[in-house]
Every structure is written in structure tokens, then in C-alpha cells.
Amino acid sequence: MKRESLLSYLVVGPFAIVLAFPFYWMLMTSLRSDDDLYDIQQVPFKFNADSPTINNYKFLLQDTDYLRWLENTVIVGVAVVAITLVLALPAGYALARLSGRWGQGVGVGIFLTYLVPPTLLFLPLSRVVADLDLNDRLWSLIVVYPSFTVPFSTWLLMGFFKTIPPELEDAALVDGASRLGALARVVFPLSVPGILTVVIFSFSLVFNEFIYALTFISSSETRTISSGVPIELIRGDVFYWGALMAATLIPAVPLALLYNAFLNRFIAGFTGGAFR
């Protein structure tokens, strides 16, 4: 047993260092002053001159549109999660309870649409968005983003609902509850972890999305962080490296904490859907 966990450390340790190194480096960079950062004679692994400093964070939050982008992303995220739940919850439930070829076919079909990438659809959608006068408005993202969160979430929820035995519902029905009543009182409380997982992963997909945000949005105050940081903070030859690194760390750390906390549920939902 002891030897086995030593082996685990020997494998996981180096990987963790390599995979997390860019984030360690972003943290170091975000805490260093410009004088320190752009002095080639300095050792970059140490704080020199007037470092560490939080000036980069101050600059990012006070002198750029960063907070606005964060706000936009959250607005889009909340709206997209709401639309996703309204569409995916009933569909996922029905598909889980629907046995036979028909249900399987629709389930797999919905899943396959997740494989159609935004990079294939952004050109026609850019014209549709322009024709609907949604250009440069958050509405364009709110309408389009569920096209990738709904297939994915329906699939995950289908997996979760399959793990809830239908006998539980039948028992409630025998006790005189209506089907909707059985849903609300028996199935819903049991599927809260599944719903939370869908909320978190849909939200993080919205934080991640780049190509639609790049094509549909053109002014700084309407951007989301994923397009705002690389487009607006990198202007010509002027780079605010310290602020750029802070801008990446701020969303990355909470998202990774959430992923870590919900990882087991995600695995259960992902594999419970079909591959079991």
C-alpha cells in the first residue's frame, strides 16, 4: 500500500508541476511591477525592485473594461443556463424514461449535434445575426450559446435520470400523487446534483466560448472576458502583461475549484448516459 502511493506521487507530482506551471507563472507575472518585469538582468523567479505589488490588479479592475466583461459574461451565463435548463431538463427526463429504439435514436441524435463545432457554423450565423439586427448585442450570444449547451446538458441529465429507479416514481403514483407531483417530490430532489453539474459546466462553456463572441461582438463594452482580454488588452505593440496574467487567473481558479468539487458527479453523468 505504502509503495503504491509513493508510485502515485512519482507519476502525479511531475505532471501536476508541468500542467500547473503556466498558472504559477501567471501568478508570478501578475504580482511583479513593470520595472521588474522588463528588466532582462533580473532573475524572473524572484521578486525584485518594488515587487510584489497588486498594481496590475488595480489597473485591470479600475482602468480597463474588465469588470464590464466579467459582468457581461455572467449575464450571458445566467440567461444561457436558464434556457438550457428549461429545454434540457424535460428532454433529458423523457429520454431516460423512454425505452426502445425511438428514444435511443433521439438521444444519440441530440448527442451527435454536440459534435458539430461552432467553427463550422459561425460564418452563416454571423449573417443571420446581422440580418436580425442582433450585431454587437449580448442577445446574439444568449440566443446562440444554448446550441452547444443544450445537447451536452440533455445528454448529462439523461444519464443522471437513468440512475434514479422508475420504481420510486411508481411508488409515489400508487400513493396517489400525480405524475407531475411525483416528479416534483421524488425525482427532482434526487437530481439536484445532476442539475448543479449541468449549471456549472454550461456556465464554464459560456466563459470558454471564443469564436461567436469574436464574430458577433465588435465594441469593447459588449465583450465577454474570453474575447475582451485577448482583443482589447492587446492593442498593437502595447501589452499590459501583468494585467493580462491577472485577467486569466481571476476566472481560472474558481472554475478549477468548481470542477474539482464536481468531478465525480461529472464522471458519473458522462458515463451513465450511454457508455454503460
Partner: protein
């Protein structure tokens, strides 16, 4: 169930009957997907057959000319080749690394939570932002990689410069033909994003870096679903270590590894973010991939029809992946 129903609830009964209820619950999601994935896909195919420009959604029907024009462009063929290289090489790295990681992480040990957090970071961070981080890591003047290569990493101790070891091992005249690596000079360190081959290597590494956590998670799911009796059976038969991996674990894990691989292929081949933020296809279009070239043609170059045609070259490989997945899902269903 019918015995429970009373006559006063007939309307509700009809609604609750599976035959009606199920389609009613599924329809909104299916309609939405058809409208926002199906319609644009058809529209993309239509656009690719016309000479539409950025100003309009319609154009003159030109048949397959956009596809042929795209093919005749040297940049397109390089983009196609790069897409294949980036995908295949990065996924090969991902499979090997994720395999090791998953085997180590499936056990319980102290501090696992923290280490798992570190490993999940690349997957959780928005790609566009972490790629900006790599812009800084591979910076032409302040690259931390180059600093480490060209400095004494044991100051005060025995002078050890990593670049000397690399030059000694790789940058030699007699190194067997195929791979040629120029020696690293401290005054002229590698320009990671300015030299075509190095930029390609950087892109491959970033893709591998961000997909490894995802593949690891899927592999862990596969290992965790292996019944413990199999472990016992293997122990009884005296299979341990490598032999157990080769004869027991590997065949059992093959299906789930295939799932991780197919997703990895889709995520890498259809991604635009890494290349668009890191090199924008440069230097001199040497790192263009299909998606960035479609963007450059369709949005920057305003040739909507040809841009759509370029991105649609991705459809046949994606269809192939879908078929493999379907075949796989059916196979699992039968057993």
C-alpha cells in the same frame, strides 16, 4: 397505472400518458437544436455553393467552384496538413500522458485533492485566456523557457546550463538524418512564435496541455467502472504490473480510451482559439489551420462562400468520428 385514475382526471391522464407526454417534453429541445444547429449547417452548405460576400446571405450559384478554388490555394493545403499534424501529434501525447495519470490518480493518497486541482486547471481555464498566458511564456524577449535554458540553474554550485545539454544531445551533425535541430545560442535564443517549426511545436504542446485533464477524467471513469472481481481474478492468475496492464486492463479500457480519443480529436481539429490568439496563422501562414483559414477568408477577406467551403472540409472527418461513436454506442448496448 390505469386503475389508479378516476374519471374526473381524464384530461390529465391523456397528458400523462407516455405516448403524448414524452414527445411533448422532448420537442422543445429538438426544435431548438434543429433551428440553431441544423439550419445554420444547411445554410453553410448553401453558402459554400454560392459566391456570397460579407454583405449578403445570398449569391449566385457557382457549384463546387469555392471548394476547387480553396483547394488550389497553397495556404489551404498547408492549413489542411497542419490540422492533421496538430490533431494527431497532440492526441498521441494526450493518450500516453492521460493513461499514466489516470492509473496513478484512481488510487487514494494524501493530498490527492490538491494535486487533482492542479491537473484540472488547464481544462477549467478559458482557452483564450490561458493561450494569452502562453504568449507571455513564449515571448520573444522575456520568455521564461528561454531564460531557464540559457541560465545557470544551480547558481553557486556546478555551472549547469540546460541549453548545453540540449545542444550536446540533439544539435549534432551526425544526428540520424530526419530531425535537424540547430544549436541554441544564449545570445540568440529560440523564437518560439517567430519560427514556423517552433510555433507548430508550441501549438501542439498547448493543445496537449489543455486536453490531458479531460482525457484523464474520462480514463478515471473507465478505471473506476472496472469491477473489483477482475482485479481479484487477475491476482489469482498471477498477472501483475505490466502483464496485468497488457492482458487485462488495456483490452477492458480500450472502448473508453476510444471515447476520450474521439472527443480529443473533435476538440483539437475544430478549435480556432489557440491558433487565432497565439499566432493568427503566422509566421507567413505557416501555422494556419482550416478554422483560422476559414475565418481569414470568410470574415477578414469577406469571401463568405469560400470561407464556408473551407470550414466544410471539416465535415467528412467529423461524420466519420460520429459513425465510429454510433457503432461504439450500439456495441455497448448489445453487451
Amino acid at each position: 397505472m390505469a386503475s389508479v385514475a378516476t374519471s374526473g382526471r381524464r384530461w390529465q391522464d391523456t397528458l400523462e400518458e407516455r405516448r403524448f407526454l414524452a414527445p411533448l417534453l422532448i420537442a422543445p429541445a429538438v426544435l431548438f437544436i434543429a433551428l440553431l444547429v441544423g439550419v445554420p449547417l444547411v445554410l453553410a452548405i448553401y453558402l459554400s455553393l454560392t459566391d456570397a460576400t460579407a454583405g449578403s446571405l445570398t449569391g449566385e450559384f457557382v457549384g463546387l467552384r469555392n471548394y476547387l478554388d480553396a483547394w488550389d490555394d497553397e495556404n489551404f493545403r498547408r492549413a489542411l496538413k497542419n490540422t492533421v499534424i496538430f490533431t494527431v501529434v497532440s492526441q498521441a501525447i494526450v493518450l500516453v500522458c492521460a493513461g499514466f495519470l489516470a492509473h496513478a490518480l484512481v488510487r487514494n493518497f494524501r493530498g490527492k485533492w490538491l494535486l487533482r486541482f492542479f491537473i484540472l486547471l488547464p481544462w477549467a481555464a478559458p482557452v483564450a485566456l490561458s493561450t494569452v498566458g502562453f504568449l507571455w511564456i513564449f515571448h520573444s524577449l522575456y520568455s521564461v523557457v528561454n531564460w531557464t535554458l540559457t541560465h545557470d540553474i544551480f547558481p553557486g554550485g556546478p555551472a549547469f546550463y540546460p541549453y548545453k545539454a540540449i545542444n550536446w544531445a540533439f544539435a549534432r551533425d551526425f544526428w540520424p538524418g530526419a530531425i535537424q535541430i540547430t544549436p541554441i545560442e544564449p545570445i540568440d535564443p529560440p523564437q518560439w512564435l517567430g519560427e514556423p517549426h517552433l510555433a507548430m511545436a508550441a501549438i501542439i504542446l498547448i493543445h496537449a496541455w489543455r486536453i490531458i485533464p479531460f482525457a484523464t477524467v474520462i480514463f478515471i471513469a473507465g478505471l473506476a467502472s472496472m469491477p473489483p472481481e477482475i482485479d481479484d481474478a487477475a491476482k489469482v492468475d498471477g498477472a501483475t504490473g505490466l502483464r496485468k496492464f497488457w492482458y487485462v486492463t488495456f483490452p477492458l479500457q480500450l472502448p473508453i480510451a476510444l471515447v476520450a480519443l474521439l472527443f480529443g480529436i473533435v476538440f483539437t481539429a475544430t478549435d480556432i482559439t489557440v491558433v487565432q490568439v497565439l499566432t493568427q496563422g503566422g509566421p507567413f501562414n505557416s501555422t494556419q489551420i482550416l478554422t483560422t483559414w476559414a475565418y481569414a477568408t470568410g470574415i477578414n477577406g469577406a469571401a463568405l462562400g469560400e470561407g464556408a467551403a473551407i470550414s466544410l472540409y471539416l465535415l467528412p472527418p467529423l461524420a466519420l468520428v460520429a459513425i465510429v461513436m454510433l457503432w461504439f454506442a450500439r456495441k455497448v448496448e448489445v453487451t
